[in-house]
């Protein structure tokens, strides 16, 4: 098994608060890995560290074979980040956003335009191609955001809470898009606070709680270790402060 992300002992504190307290992570190539956790668990911080946007206090990581500390540029060449808020330019049109990204990734002008057309069609945005993103619905923005991430297909795609704030229909659509990318072999590391999302998309789920990975496995494994209960039960058992002791007992086998 080869891994696109390998991280060891990642620690990060903000103003005395230990947000990440020694996170180990291994994301298999061509898998969809979900980082599940409640608000404030440190999911976004971990993504930002792996995307070179924040420096960890301690720990080492390689992303697509590039050392995070010594070769951040190599990491940046291998990733695409779709943040918690759609990372697109609202003042520009959908097409302009895509062409701009193509140019920034040094596609020739013509190739950038062709690629934009392809992506607009693939992501169901052809009709809105020449209107400003400001007028897009939440679902359209996220789709454009993903399209922008796919201008040049990266080995690794970060999706930070891709469906937070979306209505159920847009969420379904976006799940379809992510599944499609995964089928094409893109490695996806996504964060979510929705159990259903992790269950639907991910081949591996890791539960992040209070800065640590408290459980990891396939959705089925996690469920079976909770005696066949839903992933919700697993999650609540793990992240409820009073239930920590029970959880430790129940998940001895699941903790790495």
């Amino acid at each position: 098994m080869t891994y696109t992300v390998e991280a060891l002992g990642i620690r990060k504190a903000f103003g005395g608060k230990q947000v990440l307290d020694g996170v180990d992570l291994a994301v298999a190539t061509s898998s969809v890995f979900a980082l599940l956790g409640p608000n404030g668990a440190g999911k976004t911080t971990l993504i930002r560290i792996l995307a070179t946007l924040t420096k960890p206090d301690a720990g080492v990581a390689t992303v697509a074979g590039h050392d995070l500390r010594t070769d951040p540029r190599g990491v940046r060449r291998s990733i695409s980040l779709t943040g918690q808020y759609a990372a697109v330019d609202e003042v520009l049109t959908g097409r302009e956003n895509l062409v701009m990204m193509g140019r920034l990734l040094h596609l020739p002008r013509r190739a950038a335009r062709l690629r934009a057309d392809e992506l607009l069609a693939d992501f169901g945005l052809a009709d809105a191609a020449d209107t400003r993103v400001k007028t897009y619905s939440g679902g359209m923005r996220r789709r454009l955001d993903l399209a922008v991430s796919m201008v040049v297909r990266p080995p690794l795609l970060f999706l930070d809470e891709p469906t937070t704030g979306l209505d159920p229909r847009s969420r379904q659509q976006l799940w379809g898009v992510v599944k499609g990318l995964a089928d094409e072999g893109v490695t996806v590391l996504l964060t979510t606070q929705y159990l259903e999302e992790a269950d639907r998309l991910a081949s591996t789920v890791a539960v992040l709680h209070q800065g640590r990975i408290v459980a990891q496995g396939t959705p089925a494994e996690l469920k079976s270790r909770a005696d066949g209960a839903s992933l919700d039960d697993v999650f609540f058992a793990l992240t409820e402060p009073d239930a920590q002791a029970d959880a430790d007992f129940a998940f001895k086998g699941a903790v790495r």
Binding site: R48, G83, M100, H106, P154
Partner: protein, 269 residues
């Protein structure tokens, strides 16, 4: 068809990054009708206000019309307003997700700021051209030679660059567009405490040294000296120009260094 990211990072790539970002900056300012109209209305309205409403009450030196005096001051005032727009534009950018995306891409991060600065320069030069045009229409009659015109424009470009970088640093420092708006109000008021609208000698004793020595004054006096043949401070144009260039260079270097540092280390909320 498959596409792969280019792996080389040559000077040509960096040039592409910068030109793409400049295109983005220009498009964005073109599509911000409110700021755009303000930027273009301000010079016209202020010129008319100062020349026809206040101008009669100001005894301009040599008994000339007030338009002869006020043009450089209005250019600086409009550049102050333009700097405010730049600070807000950058703070807005930083609070949106797109900058995180740029920063996680293999592109020269300085190109993002460069795009904003060049867009700022373009907006401000347009406003300056309007001040000059309206000035000529209401009776401003500079006596400068072509070489002096070029020097005056060079002074304006240097000054706008300094203001734009200062605005960029301010916008990055305060983070939110709302805070940037209030932080840059100062840019609008500092010119009043210079020789922009009245000579320092006419102010109260306490304000005179401030007005005579603050950075905007030599910039204004350099333009005034080049266009009208004499400054309002009594110092030579060359003396004012040397001071002005030093001020602008120092502000540019410090602000650009500060802005680049902040851009790299500030993490958008």
């Amino acid at each position: 068809m498959t596409y792969t990211a280019a792996t080389s990072s040559s000077l040509a790539d960096a040039a592409t990054d910068v030109s793409v970002m400049i295109g983005r900056g220009l498009r964005r300012s073109q599509r911000d009708p409110e700021a755009f109209v303000t930027a273009l209305m301000l010079p016209v309205v202020l010129m008319l206000l100062f020349v026809y409403v206040f101008g009669g009450a100001f005894a301009a030196e040599g008994g000339g019309r007030y338009a002869q005096y006020v043009v450089p001051g209005l250019i600086v005032l409009c550049a102050g307003q333009g700097a405010g727009t730049t600070a807000v534009a950058i703070a807005t950018d930083m609070s949106s997700g797109i900058v995180d995306r740029f920063r996680s891409m293999p592109i020269a991060s300085s190109s993002v700021l460069a795009g904003q600065i060049v867009a700022s320069l373009a907006r401000n030069l347009l406003a300056t051209a309007l001040v000059i045009g309206v000035g000529l229409a209401v009776g401003w009659r500079p006596v400068a030679s072509p070489a002096q015109w070029i020097a005056a424009i060079g002074m304006i470009v240097l000054f706008i660059l300094a203001m734009s970088w200062l605005a960029a640093a301010a916008g990055l420092l305060v983070r939110s567009p709302e805070a940037a708006t209030s932080a840059t109000l100062a840019f609008m008021f500092v010119p009043y405490l210079s020789t922009a609208f009245v000579p320092a000698g006419t102010m109260t004793r306490a304000l005179r040294p401030i007005a005579a020595n603050q950075p905007f004054t030599p910039v204004i006096e350099t333009m005034r000296g080049l266009w009208m043949g004499h400054t309002s401070t009594g110092a030579s144009t060359v003396h004012e120009a040397i001071l002005a260039v030093i001020y602008c260079a120092v502000i540019t270097v410090l602000s650009a260094a500060g802005a680049s540092y902040l851009f790299r280390h500030r993490t958008a909320a």
